[in-house]
Amino acid sequence: MAKKEKIARQIMPEQEPDIRAKNFEEVPLGLTQEAAVNEAQRCMQCKKPACVEGCPVGVDIPGFIKLIAEEKFVGSIRKIWEKNALPAVCGRVCPQELQCEGKCIIGKKGDSVAIGNLERFVADKERISGTGELPPKAAPTGKKVAVVGSGPSGLTVAGDLILKGHQVTIFEAFHKPGGVLVYGIPEFRLPKDIVFSEVAFLEKLGVTVDCNAVVGRTVSVDELFEEGYDAVYIGVGAGLPRFLNVPGENLVGLFSANEYLTRSNLMKAYRFPEYDTPIIRGKNVITLGAGNVAMDSARTALRMGAEKSRIVYRRSRDEVPARGAEVHHAEEEGVEFFFLTSPVEFKGNEQGRVTGMVGLKMELGEPDDSGRRRPVPIEGSEFELECDLAIVAVGAGPNPLLTQTTEGLDLNRWDYILADEATGKTSKKGVWAGGDIVTGSATVILAMGAGRLAADSIHDYLTWGW
């Protein structure tokens, strides 16, 4: 035991900040096999592993790490797959410091085991040089399940239910599957080939993926039942961008983060004009908000030639909701932070293009409903920041396209779908929901956790009834 603790946490090599801030290649380069095996040996193999409690999908973390330490990589990925169909994704985008790694016993005194990096290592190894052998599938049940949305929760539901012998079709509104993993998270944080290979894996298992299918428009939930589906899972995400409701918000050059990232990621506007979709390349960029989406936007702007990329956030550094690694990477690349600043107006020129933002300084007052100290404006503290591109990344609300066209689906007072926390069951018979359309904007892994619970409940229903 004592010997194991002497190994230092293995550092994952990364592209240098000044180089990577100008390209869209992935920032961390992955652990070498030697480093991964060394890192795996740091795990104490706790009898009651706290890390597993911290994982929303309950991956057997000591189990898969032990297999890496023994260089049994195929066994290790199989161990993860038992609970998580998207390990290459989760290894990259989970907030490990708040979950598994945050609970790691070694982390109490020193650096926790790099669980996320190990998960990523073994998933990448399988994808690049694995056997391609598929996990065993149960005998066909003859039941059909429709999964609406191909983001993290939909992919999880599809992966779970296809292995249990059901027929599964995923309906995706965009022309490519992956949901937020494809339109939202940038290439430099999650290469799209990884997402497409995860989807291809599900297709190999027998899942059908129907793109360009807008449930609520092209087809309704009730029509899916008429077409013979036995159960419907709704995992459409929270696809309604929030704006700030301040003057000047419709100026050209002011985007929702959804639009900015969709243009860049899904439509590949960063490769314009090789790809036909244009995007505004600001030299002087302001991003409003400080979540992961804001970090993604500010860093994307740098890669598209911004000389200044600034994050404006109305609370202080302590309240920043983004993953630690994202804030760290953004700062390394030169993103500047304006804390305790709230936008009150955008200014434009005669062409209707944004030229600046008027900000108001804030101070922290008493805690609000979220438990965070409420920012209070300081009278007369207005100041102006120049910008030629502004990106609003202050969260998303529930997109009503599906919910408004589905009878019998109860919503909460903010129009999110009401679903049972333990099962994902909605008020409508045969319909489950999970992910951001239930909880509001959250993380990939929480959406996957909801998908896992719903898949179990759907399987019970298809076996035993509602």
Binding site: H175, R217, L240, N250, T262, P273, E274, D276, G352, N399
Partner: protein, 275 residues
Amino acid sequence: MFEIVEREEMTGGTVIRNEIEAPLIARKAKPGQFVILKANETGERIPLTMADTDPEKGTITIIYMVVGKSTAIFRNLKVGDAYQDIIGPLGAPTHLEKVGKVVCVGGGTGIAVLHPITRALKEIGNDVTCIVGARSKDILILEDEMKKASNDLRICTDDGSYGHHGFVTDVLKEVLEKGDIKLAVAIGPVPMMKFVSKMTKEYNVKTMVSLNPIMVDGTGMCGCCRVSVGGETKFACVDGPEFDGHKVDYDELMLRLLAYREDETRSLEESGLKL
């Protein structure tokens, strides 16, 4: 893939009609709704309001003017070729109601969008006067179809080569003067909709316009298509594309439509395609 089953060059190749196999969309689409089309892997998502649908045949019809790289790529698609992606039907359908006397005003390819709406308004018993305008006779589209779809068709050309010599608003004024018009529908270039709405407001005639701002997803997810209507921000893709013409901020809409003008010019030039 969405195969083109019929194709027509309408005005010497600047305006193209495509009838496209899209049975799921044709089954659901109603007048006033739009689709988003993407020609190929590197293509842009282009919103176009449908000019017609045939649920039995499983086809939709679009009519577009070649104005940039994406529509130049569309023009190169022949019968038997296919669009890689078509998404729809999107947007809210036209609110159709029997009100009595209606005037429908169309300009440019807006006439293609106006056609199914005009036809539907007449079918439910309205007395429909239609005013269509074009720069000159050779680029006027759908004359016969519009004649059939309305009770009275009036034509205007900017250069006087056909019909009334002047703008649609000249004829509109005459029609409004006669009185008793209960509803106006205007679809065409933004300045046309702006001036039609300005005039109908003077006569206190309710006016509906169909907007075509720049879009990305078309499902309310990005907010690219936001327009100011009565001082409120609306998303044309889900709240529209039709709005109260008296409340739309047309000047803002025009500026937003020019957002990528330089990029569009560059993109077309570098592609080697011609308009």
